[in-house]
Symmetry: C2
Amino acid sequence: MASVTKVVLSRPVTFVTGNAKKLEEVRSILGHSLPLQSHKLDLPELQGEPEAISKEKARLAAEKIKGPVLVEDTCLCFNALKDLPGPYVKWFLDKLGNEGLNNMLMAYEDKSAYALCVFSFATDADTEPETFMGTTEGIIVPPRGPKDFGWDPVFQPDGYEQTFAEMPKEEKNKISHRYRSLAKVKSHLEANYEFDIPSETDANNDSAGNDVEKDTPKKRKREEDDEAAHEETKHKKEEK
Amino acid sequence: MASVTKVVLSRPVTFVTGNAKKLEEVRSILGHSLPLQSHKLDLPELQGEPEAISKEKARLAAEKIKGPVLVEDTCLCFNALKDLPGPYVKWFLDKLGNEGLNNMLMAYEDKSAYALCVFSFATDADTEPETFMGTTEGIIVPPRGPKDFGWDPVFQPDGYEQTFAEMPKEEKNKISHRYRSLAKVKSHLEANYEFDIPSETDANNDSAGNDVEKDTPKKRKREEDDEAAHEETKHKKEEK
């Protein structure tokens, strides 16, 4: 009954990433109700406000993919710096490391910050992309914990004594900016879109013929076995 | 004789700017040997290294203008921050002001920095743009002087006791990053290109039909009367 108001898409959603870990995380949260494939695209990275950057990225991606796309960006926003370094955090991290990020607040008493994840979904290049933001509030601290994932060592979420880097992955995933934005993506897509894709083969085809991780039954099994990530998502599934 | 090796352009160079002051400065330095018009374009601002940002901007501009273009970007690079904020300086200036720029170096003893101006010239969208960089070395200081031009109050060039904001304009123009990059543009264009533009009317026409400040005799007279800017350029002309 509800389906009559939904937009019907005849192609799976392409998540633009070359990062296998991100794809895994997104698939794990979105579940298999949504036909998803991934594609690495060399898109220009834009300057600007996070929402505008994300929308433009989705537009460019939809133009290249010629179908529905999902794009993701992450920002680290320091309140004392009026949300900077924000979308430019990766440059500061690359060049100055976590110590350098912490040093940016040396002149300020206010160490509060928020992690921001922005997803944009576009059905095609001519339709205004829809944007979903998730934030996690915290403070910036001298780096603590493993250094293998971005700026996690300097971000200590509110209500925790540990940095993102020190927290168990499943704990971080429950409160992360990425989880929160993806939860919005999921409920929006489920409420507003349905998929009518000609055949299983088509659904897993990559328009450009490369870089796609197929959504095979074997791959699904592997994901279901992945106990580390997204306990909360699993609980929700079990409740259904 | 030398002209046989030069590339002949049948259209004037479009300098991409909506800023009348910048256009005036560029015209004043490049002189009238180069047919120049201006056009304001709403181009995406990219993230990345300064040279790459500039080249991509020139490519996009040449694609839109369908003719030879000149684009300009300015960076402020702190040595202690491994050249950051660099191309993102405008965001830090907009949100945090000159005090905020100075505060970024609070954690570091090394206050040295350089101002960087990058011009790129592209004859068309399919030819690799040529890039010209000019730098001025200095130090970052607590803001001093008039606040009407960007980050000039925090930048004190080496060998001077004054910030860019405190210096007389003609003094700043002799040593500025913009002057130095434009001098390279000028000598390169004069050595490698010549213009054979059908008629005076065509030369001053804007391809898109708007936003162009015509290079009229009246305009030229106004520029020649402008004594404030580019003493050095004038001296060079007089020597010829």
